[in-house]
């Protein structure tokens, strides 16, 4: 019983030392994904230490509080990974190290409390903490990749007789149109920066399915899950501008 505990304490010590690295290196500029992955590595050590230290006599009845702690600890670790642009903790080496120690403590608690609750459960709850950090690396604080810069597309003419078809942007390449700006801020997150579709459907060649009037009507009265932006967020002129832009995709 004592040996695993000693190994666990050694692993915990190593994790705490690694957590303190920012103190040596000063402010660290890392992409969010890599940062989360490093947190996941810290959590592997911490959770393993927790499991090894938490082993108990299987015949004794455990307090229900252990399982609650084991489930809440990974959530607290996630909160400490808050990927804010202006995070105080991230910008100060001491704060950063403190944040890491918090993450290690949560990982340890997840494994320890789970194992205290019942043998084997610590692996699941510690694993849950690690899995959360791994998953977080691919989207928590990570913006979707951009495909085509919106500045490359300008609004087509609405004059009668103008084609209203694909606009190469040759006329005013530097200035994104009002419609393109609205698209980028409100629509791109679901439909993709170039209309290629993300969680929402692709808008490529939408003009072959809906003309300008129908596009405007749809934006004004969409069917869920598409949110309704008009009139609370977008004015009638905004809707027209963005519908016009969509016609160029």
């Amino acid at each position: 019983m004592r040996r695993p505990r000693v190994v666990g304490l050694v692993v915990l010590g190593v994790a705490v030392l690694v957590a303190g690295l920012p103190l040596l290196r000063g402010p660290i500029e890392l992409p969010v994904t890599q940062h989360h992955l490093l947190h996941a590595a810290l959590l592997v050590g911490a959770a393993l230490a927790g499991v090894l230290c938490g082993r108990r006599d299987a015949l004794r009845r455990a307090s229900p509080a252990w399982i609650v702690l084991a489930m809440i600890a990974p959530i607290l670790a996630m909160l400490l990974m808050w990927p804010s642009a202006y995070s105080f903790f991230e910008q100060h080496p001491a704060g950063h190290a403190f944040e890491h120690v918090g993450i290690v403590a949560c990982g340890f608690l997840a494994g320890f409390a789970g194992e205290r609750f019942a043998a084997g459960v610590g692996w699941a709850t510690g694993g849950s903490a690690v899995l959360m950090a791994l998953l977080a690396a691919f989207g928590f604080g990570v913006a979707p990749p951009t495909a085509v810069p919106i500045a490359a597309v300008a609004e087509p003419s609405l004059q009668p007789g103008a084609s209203g078809r694909r606009n190469t942007g040759a006329s005013s390449p530097a200035q994104p149109s009002h419609g393109a700006m609205i698209y980028a801020t409100n629509c791109a997150v679901c439909h993709g920066t170039a209309g290629e579709g993300v969680s929402g459907p692709s808008l490529k060649d939408e003009r072959t399915r809906k003309n300008l009037r129908q596009t405007i009507e749809w934006i004004e009265n969409p069917a869920p899950p598409m949110p309704k932006f008009y009139p609370a967020v977008l004015t009638a002129a905004d809707v027209r501008a963005v519908a016009t832009y969509v016609q160029t995709l």
Binding site: P74, I75, M132, L135, F138, G139, V142, V198, P225
Partner: protein
């Protein structure tokens, strides 16, 4: 492996009835919400679209939570018959469920949250008509429900690991791989219902982790709008949790078949190698089948779509085929009497098979192109939920009540209940199927033709379900009030 100790039956039953009664009460309330929506789609009355989406959000999360709570109660009791379980943990998980449901209700009733139970990012945040606190209350509420679920999963996993000597024992690995040696040693594999409990606990922990990852990310985004979230990532994790959570309701309720039908037929439902293999398939594939929700997402890798298609087949087909085959063999020439309990359990199998077949069809990519986001989707899941999970739950409830009272229901009651719940339910889902095949989109407050006409027929079916359920509730109370009997019904 001998049990360390076994929970007192009275304690196990008390936990089970607390969970089942809560689940069925929420179910009845959500049924009224469902009828109000379907009637409005039929044009019988008008629900303003904003309110419709709030009700749809409530109905979706409420129904699934109701069925999960009822299923977890049944499984808790069944596991407690095999090994010692601490009832305090069950009540703690229950408290998390209740707190979560309370937050969700607050977000809907005064808050008018309406971004649906799938809460796909960025819907809860962008262009909304409800205050931001309502989004927060919803997110916290769903996180509490997930936490309650994970606490339950943690307790059951721990108990099963101790009882069967580790994961290999729980999953009957030796029984499958070294069958002869296993038999020679006179070892027994876990009974079938334990696979339902184990798969719920293991997949529940994985799915819950994914759900809480995206849930916490959304709560952070709610508190700090500068935090970026990748919508495709959020969609993957949301469906990993949501699809698994909804599917597990079926795998939980199936335990009622494994234990309930043997009571009715006086024959045992044994664990067999094909049954264990089928459950292994479910264990592995149910958590990756969700990729079928992303067939239309152009940016999702094509290979993942194929994985989703294959996993959808492998998660569902083997376990349905083997369970139904086993159940039919059990009933065949058993001289079983048709009571409400056996009737619901058996008709539930029909709902499971039909709903499962419709789901498999929808998860086949060439069909999905036409059926995606049409009413075919609610058609298949209402079939396996209303005509499968709900019937299994009712069957299990009645098998217990009949056994306890040593009495069963008269033919008139059986006909009324059967016609109402099963017949009305069939009419109700038929409306969804035909509309879906005709291309009527799902989640429209006001549907294009022929939606409203079919919604009218479906509403009649839903009202019949309600009437049938009232008969069922009356009969359940009557049986529950009868004195306990030692004589079998």
């Amino acid at each position: 492996m001998k049990p360390l100790s076994v929970t007192l039956p009275a304690i196990g039953l008390r936990v089970m009835w607390t969970y089942i009664a809560t689940g069925l009460a929420i179910f009845l309330l959500m049924l009224l919400v469902g009828i109000s929506m379907r009637g409005s789609q039929a044009g019988w009355w008008t629900i303003e679209p904003g309110t419709f989406y709030s009700l749809l959000s409530l109905h979706g999360i409420g129904m699934l939570t109701a069925m999960v709570v009822a299923g977890l109660g049944t499984l808790w009791y069944l596991v407690s018959r095999e090994t010692g379980l601490d009832a305090r943990v069950a009540y703690l998980a229950y408290a998390f469920f209740v707190a979560g449901v309370a937050c969700v209700i607050v977000s809907i009733v005064p808050g008018h949250y309406g971004a649906l139970w799938s809460m796909l990012y960025p819907l809860p945040f962008t262009g909304t008509y409800w205050p931001t606190w309502a989004t927060g209350a919803w997110l916290v509420g769903t996180a509490l429900v997930m936490l309650g679920f994970m606490i339950w999963c943690g307790q059951i996993l721990g108990a099963l690991l101790a009882r069967y000597g580790g994961l290999g024992g729980v999953l009957a690995v030796d029984y499958v791989l070294h069958n002869r040696a296993f038999a020679k040693l006179d070892h027994e594999p876990p009974p079938p219902q334990i696979f339902a409990a184990a798969i719920t606990a293991i997949d529940g922990l994985i799915a819950g982790t994914a759900g809480l990852t995206v849930g916490v990310a959304l709560i952070v985004r709610w508190l700090d709008p500068t935090v970026a979230i990748d919508p495709l990532w959020a969609k993957n994790l949301t469906y990993l949790f949501g699809h698994t959570f909804a599917n597990l309701t079926m795998y939980m309720a199936v335990a009622g078949i494994y234990v309930g039908l043997p009571i009715c037929t006086r024959r045992a439902y044994h664990t067999s190698v094909p049954l264990v293999l089928a459950w292994w398939g479910t264990l592995l594939f149910v958590i990756i089948a969700y990729f079928h929700h992303l067939y239309m997402d152009f940016v999702q890798a094509e290979s993942l779509k194929l994985v989703g298609e294959l996993a959808s087949f492998l998660a569902a087909i083997p376990v349905v085929v083997i369970t139904v085959y086993g159940a039919v063999l059990l009933v065949h020439r058993s001289g079983m009497r048709w009571t409400l309990g056996s009737m619901f359990l058996f008709t539930g199998l029909i709902g499971w098979v039909v709903g499962g077949a419709a789901a498999v069809l929808d998860s086949t990519i060439p069909f999905n192109v036409d059926l995606h986001n049409t009413l075919w989707v609610p058609a298949h899941f209402h079939t396996y939920l209303l005509e499968g999970v709900v019937l299994f739950t009712l069957g299990w409830v009645f098998v217990n009540l009949e056994q306890r009272a040593g009495a069963s229901s008269g033919a008139l009651i059986r006909w009324l209940a059967g016609l109402g719940v099963f017949g009305g339910g069939a009419l109700f889902v038929l409306g969804f199927y035909i509309a879906g095949a005709a291309g009527v989109p799902r989640r429209y407050a006001v549907e294009p033709p022929p939606g409203p006409y079919l919604a009218g027929i479906a509403t009649v079916g839903a009202i019949l379900v309600l009437v049938g359920l009232l008969v069922v509730a009356y009969e359940a109370l009557r049986l529950a009030r009868l004195p306990r009997s030692e004589v079998a019904p």
